[in-house]
Amino acid sequence: MSEAMVQFGGRAPAHPVGGGIMRRLNLGTAVAGGLILGYVAWLISHHFLAGADDPMVQNQVVTITLAGWAFGFMIGIGAMRGPICWLLGRDQSHEDEMFAAGKDQGVGRYFRFTTDHKVVGIQYLVLTMVLLGIGGTLAMMIRTDLVTPNSGFLGPQTYNAVVGLHGLTMIIATIIMVTGPFGNFIVPIMIGARDMAFPRLNALSFWLLVAFAPVLYSAAFLGGIPTGWTGYAPLSDQGPPGMDSYLMAIIIFAVSTAIAGANITATILTMRARGMTWNRTPIFVWGVLASVGLAIPAFPMFMGAMVYLGMDRTVGANFYVASGGGNPWLYENLFWLMGHPEVYVILIPAVAALMELTTVFARKPLFSYNVAVLGIVGIVGLSMMVWAHHIFTSGWAPELNGAFMLTTELISIPTGLLFFVIIGTIWRGKVWTTLPMMCTYAMLWNFIIGGVTGIYLSDVPLDYDLHGNMFVTAHFHYTLMGAGLTGAIGALMYWFPKMTGKMLHHTSALWSFWLVQIGFQVTFMGMFAVGLAGQPRRVEHYDNTFAVGNMVSTIGAYTIGLGMLLLLYAVISSWRHGPIAPANPWGGKTLEWAVPNPIPLENFEVLPVVIADPYGYGEGDFSIPHTSEPREDVVVGAQLSPAGAVEADSS
């Protein structure tokens, strides 16, 4: 028995096959557990708390019920088994761990508390697509309401609820869209590890998000989130019980993010392959590290703001109630202390993914690796010091506005370096304009516009004029959607063959790309125009002067919707019966392309040792790094063309 086994208690497994109680727990028992405990919590709180007409009591009942659901769900999925067994000194046997990793379980492992990072990555991918689908549908509802100045399609109450849900759904979806699917699936392989540092925490962070989703959407039946996604107090203090769903959802999300962030960060810090020094670490890994590292201190602050909101709403505390000594500026500061780093949590990994794939498709080394790292680190460092540019007009500290204008404008320097690295990498390259590479070009267009409009907004007097109007909405859609989501779609198209083992259907994905990108320009150029002309954000109807711009935006939005549906079709149909992908269809040199398809449970039979960075294009022969594994497909993969992919399919 090895030392590692001694550490785990050294007991013989109770069952010869392993798994124990985890064999009987899955999504079904989780939902059952959540419903039962939620119902019990509702019964008890409803019974014991007096005065059901009092809004504060209603808030208490809703909060307790939702907490009951979340705990019941996590118990039902088996999240508590690990800590309790650890407390009792009954550690997992090797067979238990293999079961937990999803060994030989087929599709069922996607519906369990499975610890394999590849399963978690796919789970995140599907969850992200579901959330984007919900958020997109809500966006279509908003644009439909705004098609004419007084459409009355939703009415102010529903409209406000839909705006809040759209915003929050999209923020959550974009936060997880790169570090969730690709950070979990790709990064451990990319750094030459067999799994994440803490596989059970990995499963925990994902299943918390599944518990989170019904909590968030319960708001739709409890009066909505009529505050926008920002949930500014004291409007959120006086809001309907939907706000309790909002704050419980954020608390669960913050816990999930802290756990995922600590897990991914520890993985990258401690589990890189031997020889993978910091200057040989792929730039995407740097991007993911920056993103999750930034999220670790950022989201607990949001959670703090939510705990105080919950205290205000359920026990009448005075955090944000001015008459009781509270102050809305407390909320605004805490919110944006999270809110601005969060923008880079979304953006950095998406841009880093595009940098990574640009080297592959330009067939050139990453231009100025050190500058790229400097840019990422610079953004991370500055992003903690710019939050107050969101509250220039709040009046909380007008004398500090100049200082925050400085930090905000400084951040344009490291952001500019990211552009520099990408155009430098394209420079004189052999540019292979595949779909992922087209996303890089789209990002270069969109992010310039998003970045320049961001500079307008950093200028204090200009912000006084533009703050809170449609110009701001268009600006952050250009950054978060035009650069962020485009980067995530590029990453999906790039790693689709590795993650699913299939090639993405080219024609429908190509159509989707053009529909989404053109629709995007139309939508948000229209929105820039009405913003400049003076249309506030988050209004259900507007003056006739803004009619043309809004009509244009709505037409563009439907185009995006159509394109996204087409992408969904391309993904689903290719996943189900697309041509089998070779192990390395693009000729990439990072480690994930060196493992075979389908990827073995522990990724590497023999752990690789890295002796150079993965950007040696034009510096040797045209081969990929290889491990000692005598796998035919690895060697073949380097030379495969799309034509070769078809061959592989027919064989």
Binding site: E3, A4, Q7, G9, W86, L87, L88, G89, D91, R194, L201, A258, I259, G261, A262, T265, A266, T270, M271, A273, R274, I296, P297, A298, P300, M301, G304, V307, Y308, M311, D312, V315, G316, A317, N318, F319, A322, G324, G325, G326, N327, W329, L330, K589, E605, L607, P608, V609, I611, A612, D613, P614, G616, E619, G620, S623, P625, H626, T627, S628
Partner: protein, 210 residues
Amino acid sequence: MTNIETAVTIGDPDLHLEDPNVIGRRWRAGVALLILADAAFVATLLFAYFYLRGLNTSNAWLLHGQATAAIWVSWALAGGAVLSAVIFGQARRSIQAGNEAGFVAGALVALLVLVADTVGQVIQLTSFPFGVASSAYSSVVYTIAGANLYHLLLTIFIAIAMWNRGRLHIYSKSSNWQVRVAEMWWNWIAIAAVLTAFATSFIASPASGH
């Protein structure tokens, strides 16, 4: 510059079973990061306390003539947390020296101190001379006490596990990384208790003069 064909070479085939020291290093990194997250939350508590105190909105940080919490209680509770952390640190040194019995005894004493501290925290929370809704001061003080209670309960869970697992001879001189990880968290909650006790020692708002 480099030969790309050999960008990756053969690794060590025996790495499926990892050295406890490697696992321990990984866990210390992970727990340090979780402590960072928790510290950000504690920082929001301190920020809320000092910001609302500084603003004194509507002159209602403290209501006129409102009773305030006894400062020594928070310091005594912080002292309890520090004491239990020191005792557990002693227990950790025992196990590193190979003294299993010493570790079990130390962990048990640290656990008992922690339980006593928790009882004290519950008593403080239920006997503040004001309600949570009285003023901004009372809201933050209740929340800080609640956060400390949450810290203590979580640490009691870890303490029970430490004692129980020590009893079951799971830890030894050569394999004790979990003890070191637990100690990191333990030290952090002691520091957090001291920080919040320090903050709540400043009661009157500097802006209350007018």
